[in-house]
């Protein structure tokens, strides 16, 4: 702060202030700014805390109601919604864990999601293979992205491997020609060629891909199914 010891050129009153005065002014200003920043940071923590607690509350509500209902179709719907809330919750846990709250680490997220989904599915007969490059997307895109990945993974698990049929699910993330690709492939029962796929999960994927300007492509992996979602890296900003 010694660099500013020159007399002020224009104080509005014609009188030059002493270096001591100036230093005092700068010190006071710095203190005020530091305090303001601390307040903002505290506020951010408070909001983060509330978001996390509310997400926890939503999932507890779904879990509690799931305990009450007996209808299998209704139970499946509640489970589905719980999975979606969990995907968003995983995003929030990840976002504030990292130092950079504006970027979202896709691969770390996928590792968390896979561990949770596979664990709660309790299917030891399904092997998971991960091949994840480090890719980051803007935090604002994290939740829709997470919902897409959640649908694709649960879909592979549920439709690819009916009870009793084991196998393998591959999840890959890599950068390629200005976009990044998520590949989810399984060697399960594969696509049903006679029916057009439908359902709420698929609608979510379609709508959110549109939102993310992403392309999704499903192909026959023989055996099983492969779906590749490509997101523009630059258009993602």
């Amino acid at each position: 702060m010694n660099d500013i010891s020159e007399p002020a050129r224009d104080t509005g009153q014609g009188a030059a202030r002493s270096p001591e005065d100036l230093e005092a002014i700068i010190e006071a200003r710095t203190r005020a700014l530091t305090e303001a920043l601390e307040q903002k940071t505290a506020l951010l923590h408070e909001v983060d805390h509330r978001v996390k607690n509310n997400l926890q509350l939503i999932s507890s509500l779904l879990l509690l109601q799931n305990r009450r209902v007996t209808d299998p179709a209704l139970k499946a719907s509640l489970r589905g919604m719980l999975g979606r809330v969990n995907a968003i919750a995983t995003v929030h846990r990840r976002l504030f864990q990292s130092e950079d709250v504006e970027r979202f680490d896709v691969s770390a997220f996928i590792r968390d999601m896979v561990a949770d989904l596979m664990g709660s599915a309790g299917r030891d007969d399904i092997r998971i293979e991960l091949d994840l490059e480090r890719v980051e997307i803007p935090a604002a895109k994290a939740a829709p992205f997470a919902l897409v990945v959640n649908e694709l993974l649960t879909n592979a698990l549920r439709h690819g491997f009916p009870e009793g049929r084991g196998g393998r699910i591959f999840v890959g993330v890599r950068r390629q020609e200005g976009e990044f690709r998520i590949e989810i492939a399984d060697d399960g029962v594969g696509l049903d060629k006679d029916t057009t796929p439908s359902g709420f999960g698929l609608t979510i994927v379609q709508l959110l891909c549109q939102q993310l300007k992403a392309k999704s492509e499903t192909t026959d992996a023989e055996p099983g199914a492969r779906i590749i979602v490509s997101l523009p890296v630059n258009g993602a900003h």
Partner: protein
């Protein structure tokens, strides 16, 4: 599950979370001693019931008093506390004597796995393997249970 069922006290002021946690605790084979919503209630219950494990939220009905609750449970009641909070970064470095933390928002599976893992640690005196995703152990407990590698699988 190995060994006897742990007695678990839930310290959480959000009733819906507390009740759902109680279900989970029972489902993994532990025994729930009940729920406390304030620090006073928590310490009273802990002194009376001597829980093996207390699941402690930091924000209780009387303010951010969970850290002190955890400290009292581990120093005065002979129990082990585990934090369950959305504010993992704000916990004191020594975890106030608690064995670790589950960050909110947690998943049902995350809590089940963590509880089974801690049951093993508390009854056998050492860890059955690497720390599961969603659970972070306090350095003192990681050492106590023979874990040199603290990084969870998904770090």
């Amino acid at each position: 599950m190995t060994g006897r069922a742990l007695d678990v006290l839930i310290v959480e002021d959000e009733m819906l979370l507390a009740i759902e946690l109680e279900h989970l605790v029972e489902e993994v084979g532990c025994h729930s001693l009940g729920c406390a919503m304030s620090s006073e209630e928590a310490v009273d219950l802990a002194k009376k019931l001597n829980p093996d494990l207390a699941l402690v939220d930091v924000h209780l009905s009387d303010g951010p008093t969970g850290v002190e609750v955890a400290r009292k449970i581990s120093s005065d009641c002979g129990g082990v506390a585990l934090f369950m909070t959305a504010n993992v970064k704000r916990l004191p470095e020594d975890y106030a004597g608690a064995c670790g933390v589950i960050g909110k928002p947690y998943s049902e599976h995350g809590v089940r796995t963590a509880l089974s893992y801690l049951t093993y640690c508390l009854t056998e005196g050492h860890a059955p393997g690497p720390v599961p995703v969603g659970l972070t152990l306090a350095p003192a407990y990681a050492e106590l249970w023979g874990l040199t590698d603290l990084t969870p699988k998904s770090a």
